[in-house]
């Protein structure tokens, strides 16, 4: 039902040359044959991250259900949002901070990924107390722990960008790059 497309070896090698700490990054892209939505998976040293395209309507439904004002629902849905799964695949203590992460647009500029704390501050001003769904700002993972939540970047639909993410294993810093991520479209393509 799903297709697994491996990233071109040359691209992977180039990525690895950029990474001094990461030993071997395995990247794969899966396409849901029904929805056409993409999932990127990167398995680095002790750290696995998956980013799943989410449609704006999914975001609208989530926040409308929690009684967000319509303006806030649309503001969230305007972001490029990925369902994100992070897993500690090591036998060590793993930690991460979203504030260390950056996204890089095609002109080479880097921007900080918006954190849960930043969202909550904005929501609080709008009278919203709901505090879930977003990827926690920080994670402290024991062996086998994993977590998921939304990662948000302020980019238009179907924009291509790179995500630069960081984590620590027993205090040792690591960096990974997922290249050519693409924001979800406004809606699913019409099927015949």
């Amino acid at each position: 039902m799903m297709k697994c497309l491996l990233v071109k070896p040359a691209l992977l090698i180039a990525m690895l040359m950029l990474l001094t700490e990461a030993a071997a990054t395995e990247v794969s892209i899966h396409k849901n044959e029904i929805s056409g939505l993409l999932t990127w998976t990167a398995a680095d040293e002790g750290f696995k991250i998956e980013l799943i395209q989410l449609l704006p309507d999914f975001i609208r439904a989530i926040y409308a259900k929690h009684n967000f004002p319509k303006q806030e629902v649309e503001r969230a849905a305007a972001y490029c949002i990925f369902g994100t799964i992070i897993k500690n695949t090591s036998d060590q203590h793993l930690s991460y901070r979203v504030s260390d992460w950056r996204y890089r647009t095609q002109d080479g500029k880097q921007y900080p990924v918006k954190t849960k704390t930043q969202w909550l501050e904005e929501w609080r001003k709008a009278g919203i107390t709901f505090s879930w769904t977003l990827l926690p700002d920080t994670g402290e993972f024991a062996v086998g722990d994993w977590q998921q939540g939304f990662t948000t970047v302020k980019l238009p639909r179907e924009t291509t960008f790179d995500l630069i993410y960081k984590w620590q294993l027993d205090g040792v810093a690591h960096t990974g790059i997922l290249e050519n991520l693409r924001c979800a479209p406004e809606s699913l393509p019409e099927t015949s």
Binding site: L37, T39, E50, I52, D57, F58, H66, S131, W132, G144
Partner: protein, 175 residues
Amino acid sequence: MKNTFLIIILTLSFSLNADWQQPELSHNLTAVKKVIQASDFELQDMDEEKVKLSDYRGKVVLLNFWATWCPPCIREMPSMERLHQRVSADDFKVIAVNQMEDADEVFAFTGQLEIDPTFEILFDKTSEVSQDYAVRGLPTTYLIDKKGNIRYRAVGGREFDHAEVVKLVNSLIDE
């Protein structure tokens, strides 16, 4: 109600989309480095009856924080029910603390599950209890001993009826 139905459909769709790619549910619970007393709380159950954690002092408690829109929460819930069925109710209690939803939403949700939960479901409508337990993401689970001490923790979904978890629960019961 329309929104609730839509969210269930979308959550299940997301879950199906992501399900095969999601990490396999492991079974390891991590022993906490510093054993502390679990904070007591009082929350309403599905019948709007008030329930305190301390009502179950003398039993081992699996305390799970969850929500209906959380895919790994959905995945691990049947295994929580099987664990609940497997271990004597005289010695063990499963408590699932829902975050910021209500009984109607949870009722609609549990009707979609392969196993109807018979364990305790409580409602933390303001997330105060989860904040007190330093829960950063869902699901997060604590295993509490008979004296009310937090002994183990799991962040992310687990297969709670795995033999190792059953053994762990029984070892706390036997203490």
